[in-house]
Symmetry: C2
DNA sequence: GGGCTAAGTAACTAGTCAGTTACTTGTGGA
DNA sequence: TCCACAAGTAACTGACTAGTTACTTAGCCC
């Protein structure tokens, strides 16, 4: 307790807080890369949004590309670790899958930056992500969740026997991702704001129905 | 016949072919915007890819943004008109829907530029598309196709009664779009090339199963 | 207190970029 | 043949960009 207070007192008197500056840059970069894409984001703007000196951006992250990779790792780590906390083991296969699909949809609402980050990374052919062993290691456990749900569902006769975990993982992401990634064009085309609450609720129900409807035995 | 030959002879002797230059610029722009996004594409590169003088790009299209909109209109026109030629009326609701889903998936393979163009346009919040009445007018007929299929399927008791045409339109696009838009990150994550023929065939079968499985009556 | 290093400030730099300017050439119609 | 205008060439321009340089300040440890 005394050491926490000593640290807090020290931090409030200090003119320098490297970890805070570093985090502010990371968050500002996440926002700027999400808004503008990797190519459109400007390091001056990131520094400004972070209320930091541009020099510090290079100091902490090296260059623009490496900053983008740091942002990407942060984003992936967030969603993948949240998925692992869903505790699907304790649910029926159907409820587990329902919870996972709903979680994914809700996550895209909560973390809208994720989609534009992935779009940018794919525009650059995953060249950043290839350099990150951390990101690569994040996915096996999540696919394992789906594999387990499918296995249980098939064993109980409530899921179709030909469901493939990776295809289901991709489809689970698909039905929400596309909606959000194209929300501007779709809203314009259909002349209604697809990011409004009622629209989101309708879409959420639909995506759950799509995945659960597909999984019904044939 | 004589007039066709006269035109061909005239064209082959001419040093100027404005329509050809214009088309070359449009195609080069489509490629460059698809590869690099709107922000990353360079007008010098587009001109070079078109084997045209940069001045002509401004001459024909005004500026970079307007060129992007021309490309977007071209891309939408292509997919939307192809959809209308599917002749789904003559098929059972199930076969019609199967054909549409397969068509959409195959279209993304055939016209890979479409996805990156839409990603760019959404990154820019559909600000180009809003200026195009032509694009806005292209969608009602296609949604009408799905509405008809669903209506027939529900009447025949082979589709679920709660299926919504717009949601199905979006889901039809979702299950393929996400796969292709994220093919680089997904391939890296799963350590396999998801653009290979076998992978594409597996995914194609899956997306048809997802939509048709979902549509089964409850 | 002093020295050293990390953290930080501010200005600079060379190259890039969309768009413009100045001029030339080709073509069609009178 | 001549003229006018569209199509075309090539160079230029001012602003922007990621990254660098030169220097200062803060904080920690001896």
């Amino acid at each position: 307790m005394a050491s926490v207070n000593a640290q807090a007192a020290k931090a409030s008197k200090s003119k320098r807080d490297p970890e805070s500056v570093r985090q502010r840059i990371l968050q500002a970069a996440l926002a700027e890369f999400s808004d503008k894409g990797l190519g459109g984001a400007r390091v001056d703007v990131i520094a400004q949004r972070a209320d930091a000196n541009k020099r510090m951006l290079y100091h902490y992250f090296g260059n623009k590309d490496d900053l983008f990779l740091a942002v990407l790792e942060h984003a992936y780590r967030d969603i993948r670790s949240a998925e692992l906390e869903l505790n699907l083991d304790n649910l029926s296969p159907e409820d587990g899958m329902r919870k996972l699909v709903a979680f994914t949809f809700d996550y895209f609402i909560k973390a809208p930056y994720f989609i534009n980050l992935l779009n940018s990374e794919n525009l650059h052919r995953a060249r950043h992500l290839r350099r990150s062993q951390a990101i690569l290691d994040m996915h096996a456990p999540v696919v394992g969740l789906i594999t387990d749900l499918l296995r249980r569902g098939i064993a109980e006769g409530v899921f179709r026997a030909d469901a493939d975990p990776i295809q289901v993982f991709i489809t689970n992401a698909s039905v929400g991702y596309f909606y959000f990634s194209n929300v501007h064009t779709l809203s314009t085309i259909f002349g209604r704001d697809l990011s409004e609450k009622d629209e989101l609720e309708a879409r959420r129900r639909h995506v759950i129905d799509v995945v659960l409807g597909y999984l019904r035995p044939t």
